[in-house]
């Protein structure tokens, strides 16, 4: 009997679990960045002064992996200009001034699907991306599963929502179990050749008892759907951890996910996909959990993508001046530069922390306590990574880094969270992984000469 990976109890702070999502009044304007997905930025196809309607395509795919962007309010395009992003780079953003009418575009109608290819095309055109955080284009993920080398027998539907505070997936499951069911049926129907015999495992943490109940009722008569209950432990939602805990299979770094016989998709992505296929309405709005120590009334809000964070905070109210605002969860989310930044497709939460919680203690010397390694879900020798990174000789450094197992890092930040010296261990792991990737590429190049 294998032992489940269990890492860490992080305080849940799921204050909004009981909060019915509330639709906000149409914001006066939205800002839609071109990089709301992983891969290449989308390319605007509208001009300043154009009138656009809800669901209308305003930016097309550009490059190999990309995703289109749709207008989320009706109104006039007033600006197409670069804005700073959290990564430090700039991206083009389209600003639309709302006319308040929320007129739906004529192009919004259910896509015509006949086969797998047209299904993937539809998912592609709907701008559906992984809403769990990585924002990987969903069609590309499905497309991988059609590779004849892989035999996918399990579809993991990621409903763990293991990060503190966030309850948007939870509330979505309570409100729209039908969309989850539709999503599963679409996959079974149009990807029958590849997923026809697959088991659909909805992986959900036990702290969402009401959602588990709803899902169990919804799928009571479907033997190919399993509600897989997971312990409420961080990081259950990391795909490698989920794969291991739900199927016992080990994800090896450097291999594509379907090669482990499984596909993984976030539960909200699946529901948004079903919604698009049902109605033709792409991702134009989403549930956002607004919480954090600076927030007066934590709430779940339904807001158009591109709504400024400040608009949401106006509705929930602020107890104090926020010192830090995060889009996403506190373990993996992105800190933003300004309260006027927009919410993006993956913005499952907006967390505003007061000045006291905004700054973490300064890092100090490693005391070799070993907690980083003890709490690492995949048992990386975390403390050795930093030591290896100081080696001068590149070949030796690469060898030492590989020995630490850092390539298996799932980016969960548990090591960093428990470190008594508050060292930036996750950052060091990222540096190490980036180095190894570059090193491997160089080696390959050198070999070809």
């Amino acid at each position: 009997m294998k032992k489940d990976i269990s890492s860490l109890h992080v305080p849940h702070n799921k204050n909004t679990a009981g909060c019915e999502p509330v639709r906000i009044a149409t914001p006066s304007e939205v800002i839609l960045p071109m990089n709301m997905h992983s891969g290449h930025d989308a390319e605007p196809i509208v001009n300043v002064g154009d009138h656009v309607k809800v669901g209308q395509l305003i930016a097309r795919e550009e490059g190999r992996f990309s995703s289109p962007v749709h207008a989320t309010v009706s109104g006039t395009v007033v600006e197409i200009a670069p804005i700073p992003t959290a990564s430090g780079k700039e991206t083009i953003a389209i600003r639309i001034e709302s006319d308040g009418k929320m007129e739906v575009s004529e192009t919004v109608k259910p896509p015509v699907i006949n086969d797998c290819a047209s299904f993937l095309q539809a998912v592609r055109e709907g701008g559906i991306v992984g809403l769990g955080g990585a924002a990987f284009p969903t069609w590309a993920k499905f497309n991988e599963a059609t590779n004849p080398d892989y035999k996918v027998d399990t579809v993991l539907i990621n409903a763990a929502e293991c990060e503190p505070y966030i309850t948007s997936d939870h509330r979505m499951m309570l409100a729209h179990p039908d969309l989850i069911a539709d999503g599963i049926e679409y996959l079974r129907k149009y990807m029958n050749e590849y997923l026809g015999n697959a088991t659909f495992k909805i992986c959900i943490e036990t702290n969402k008892a009401d959602a588990i109940e709803v899902l169990k009722n919804t799928f009571a008569d479907k033997d190919y759907v399993v509600i897989h209950e997971l312990k409420t432990i961080y990081p259950q939602g990391a795909k490698q951890v989920m794969l291991y805990n739900a199927t016992g299979r080990v994800a090896v770094a450097g291999r594509r996910f379907p090669s482990f016989g499984a596909l993984i998709i976030n539960v909200s992505s699946l529901a948004k996909m079903a919604e698009y296929l049902n109605t033709g309405m792409p991702i134009v709005e989403r549930i956002v959990t607004v919480d954090g120590s600076a927030v007066e009334n934590p709430m779940n809000l339904i807001a158009p993508i591109g709504t400024r964070v400040s608009e949401l905070l106006k509705i929930t109210g602020l107890k104090s001046n926020p010192g830090k605002i995060i889009i996403g969860g506190p373990m993996n989310g992105t800190a933003i530069y300004s309260v006027d930044d927009p919410i993006v497709k993956v913005a499952n939460a907006v967390l505003a922390f007061d000045e006291k919680d905004a700054v973490l203690p300064e890092p100090s010397a490693c005391i070799n306590c070993g907690r980083c390694m003890e709490k690492c879900p995949v048992s990386i020798s975390v403390a050795d990574v930093a030591r290896a990174m100081t080696v001068k000789d590149k070949d030796k450094m690469a060898k030492l880094l590989i020995q630490t197992g850092v390539r298996q890092c799932v980016d969960c930040a548990c090591c960093n969270y428990v470190c008594p010296a508050n060292r930036h261990l996750l950052q060091i792991n990222w540096d190490a992984k980036a180095f190894l990737k570059k090193y491997a590429a160089e080696q390959k190049e050198g070999g070809n000469k």
């Binding site: 959290a86 800190a335 300004s338 203690p361 306590c369 070993g370 390539r407 960093n416 996750l426």
Partner: protein
């Protein structure tokens, strides 16, 4: 609105997790043994403790000042070093010798190697061994407890005189600690209280010191004629518990994985038995731990975690 802080993930940190809090927990865990030491050995024990702690902290402060380094006395590690050194000394050690030992521990053993986290040997233990060699007449052996000035020989010495002499030592005396020895090593009950506190606070794993103590016990049981009482006397007399609970669990100078720490402790247990049985000194814990400190990098290399899905 004011400027926002922007930083990399994670944005939260485990509450109460800091080097200072770990050191504070160790200090708290040492309080019962400290009090017991003062009660058993009198006020002179208190002077030794104060001298060691004060000079350790001052030494680190001055060193950081001279080297223009960031001040680190706030992490309380110097307090732990000073306190541990004091508890390893007799109550009648001259104060100037305490100061020399403390300064040696902090400056030579810790700061010269790069400060907390970089030292390869436990500062308190190394300083004690240094003092044992330098001030052999005053540091070796044990001071008599104030209540009973006649029993001046440390029970370890008595134990080594043979089975007959050993029968004169009662287990109750060992538990209460009312016998000759170093300030903090004699009172077993106080040490076990500290042990329980550290385990509850998750600073140490119970099986790490336990493997040290068990190794020593098993050795004496196997080679001492399968005598439970005799083996227990060896475990409880001398510095074994103090060393096992507080020094063999020092994060910095032991391997980082729990498996590595157990290997470390078994090695230290075997060495303790060997030194006590065949060496010139009645006590072997300090030298055993110090030796294992030097082997730590190798043990750490052999006992690394196996990464899930990783290639070794």
């Amino acid at each position: 609105m004011a400027n926002l802080h922007v930083s990399s993930t994670p944005h939260i940190h485990q509450k109460g997790s800091s080097t200072r809090n770990i050191m504070l927990d160790v200090v708290i865990a040492l309080i019962p043994a400290t009090i017991a030491g003062v009660v058993i050995f009198g006020l002179s024990a208190l002077w030794v403790i104060l001298a060691c702690v004060a000079s350790a902290v001052l030494a680190e402060y001055v060193f950081n000042l001279c080297c223009k380094r960031k001040q680190t006395i706030g992490d309380l590690s110097a307090v732990v070093t000073g306190l541990l050194l004091a508890l390893n000394l007799r109550a009648d050690v001259p104060i100037w010798q305490c100061v020399v030992g403390s300064v040696f521990a902090i400056i030579v053993v810790k700061c010269f190697f790069g400060g907390l986290g970089k030292n390869i040997a436990n500062p308190a233990i190394t300083a004690r061994v240094f003092m044992l060699l330098t001030f052999a007449t005053t540091v070796g052996g044990g001071a008599a407890p104030v209540a009973d000035l006649t029993a001046s020989a440390s029970p370890l010495v008595t134990l080594n005189q043979g089975a007959e002499a050993a029968s004169s030592i009662s287990l109750l005396t060992l538990f209460l600690g009312t016998h000759a020895g170093a300030i903090g090593e004699t009172c077993v009950i106080a040490l076990l209280l500290g042990f329980a506190y550290l385990v509850i606070r998750k600073v140490i794993k119970w099986y790490v010191p336990a493997s040290f103590v068990a190794t020593v016990f098993v050795c004496y049981f196997l080679f001492g004629g399968f005598d439970v009482v005799y083996s227990l006397q060896h475990v409880l007399a001398g510095g074994l518990l103090l060393g096992a609970i507080f020094m063999a669990t020092d994060y910095v100078t032991t391997p980082a994985t729990n498996l590595g720490r157990v290997v470390f402790c078994i090695g230290a247990g075997l060495l303790t038995f060997a030194i006590r049985s065949f060496g010139a000194y009645p006590e072997g814990v300090s030298i055993a731990i110090l030796t294992m400190n030097l082997l730590t990098p190798f043990i750490a290399d052999w006992t690394k975690n196996k990464t899930l899905g990783g290639v070794r």
